[in-house]
């Protein structure tokens, strides 16, 4: 039933119907997010992968053939993106040397024509859009390498409250970066934050 509905929307999208395409993407986002959470991803990571999937769906939309199941096509993309996520996660975790960070900074400068100082300033400016608590938690968690337990003790909050606040703060940070800098640079800045975080 759902599959048929999605097929119909996709057919309309092929003719340029933006509303139908919106339905396809929204439903795909919901199903993907649910699938990723079921597969053990944290909500923050599930959001990231969901967005990757949506971009992949958009890029690959011409390969979808209306004669076949939409869900089969979509979940194949989700599985590949999930595998990519785990591969990248493993790579990041095994790369912690300062040389690698310098290389990343170098790449970022070439790619984006900005120095790492300027990129860091962009992150700081975006952080000002967060609440005081959210900002404090993200700085301690991502840049200072503190554990949830340590932050909870310091801020006199429960661990789950710290996790929720971090998750919401990070999501808000993404929205700010996306609005101010566009998808590509937003992803680069988030990647830098994650890289620094993994290095701690």
């Amino acid at each position: 039933m759902l599959d048929q509905q999605l097929q119909q929307w996709m057919k309309a999208a092929q003719a340029g119907d933006a509303t139908a395409y919106h339905q396809v993407l929204e439903k795909s986002a919901q199903l993907t997010h649910k699938f990723l959470i079921k597969n053990g991803l944290e909500p923050i990571d599930a959001d990231d992968v969901t967005q990757e999937v949506l971009i992949a769906i958009d890029k690959a939309k011409a390969t979808y053939d209306i004669r076949y199941s939409f869900l089969g096509w979509m979940y194949a993309i989700v599985r590949f993106k999930l595998a990519d996520f785990f591969r990248a996660k493993y790579k990041r975790e095994s790369r912690t040397s300062d040389e690698d960070l310098e290389l990343l900074i170098e790449e970022a400068q070439i790619e984006d024509q900005f120095t790492i100082k300027e990129l860091r300033e962009m992150i700081d400016t975006a952080m000002n859009g967060l609440s005081k608590v959210q900002k404090q938690i993200i700085i301690q968690m991502k840049f200072e390498g503190k554990s949830v337990k340590e932050i909870a003790l310091q801020l006199k909050m429960s661990e789950s409250a710290v996790k929720v606040s971090a998750s919401r703060g990070y999501a808000k940070l993404k929205v700010i970066l996306l609005k101010e800098h566009g998808i590509i640079r937003c992803n680069l800045l988030l990647f830098i934050i994650e890289y620094i975080s993994r290095g701690n």
């Binding site: 999208a13 092929q14 003719a15 340029g16 933006a18 395409y21 919106h22 993407l25 929204e26 986002a29 919901q30 997010h33 649910k34 959001d47 969901t50 967005q51 949506l54 971009i55 992949a56 958009d58 890029k59 690959a60 939309k61 011409a62 390969t63 979808y64 053939d65 209306i66 076949y68 199941s69 089969g72 096509w73 979509m74 979940y75 194949a76 993309i77 590949f80 999501a171 808000k172 993404k174 929205v175 996306l178 609005k179 998808i183």
Partner: protein, 217 residues
Amino acid sequence: MIPTQATSLLINKLKGDLKPFETISEEKLVGQWAAISIPLLILVKLFVNSRPDLTEQLKNVEFYSNIILLSITIIYLLKMAILSTIPGREYEESKALKTALLGIGITVAFYVILIAKDIHLATFHADNGIRCSLEIMMLGSIPLGVLMSLIKKNTLFRPHITGVISAAGMILVGTVWLYFSCPVDTAFHLLTWHMGPILVASIVGYFVGKLVLFAKK
């Protein structure tokens, strides 16, 4: 679940960029590949000498059966290469590997039996051989280039696998084409100089596939 604000923004952006688009079906791709490759191969063949015994061979059932068998394999590999770029339609890796191993096994067994039956077939013809391999590579690179340019627009989640299958299938086109110009039918010659390039191309395809398929579109 309600998408996060970042996801909603992304959805709106993608929706805003939508333009009418056509489906790239595998039939369409096969058709486009054939429409471009076959005339090019015929054109190239006009400049290559035919084997002296071609008229005789055209009356030979074994000659036809070899070509038909190889052509079926080409079509199968072509389909596999295309499907490997369509999410949800790709062959399972284990199935593809088993099929490839089975194909190699049958080919080798076929030639070993031929050699065992008649030992004089075990002649290398090294001089002609190198020329044959180079011609196969040259002829095969035409349909391979066409296929690569067609499928690189698709989704490439497993470029290594796509690279191997495409290279093997398309170099096999060169092998079939060479049947019309190389007069040496000894088993060793065919196995080494005609089939060898397929193995080499498959290995190269595995490593180079990703570079070629991800090169700027």
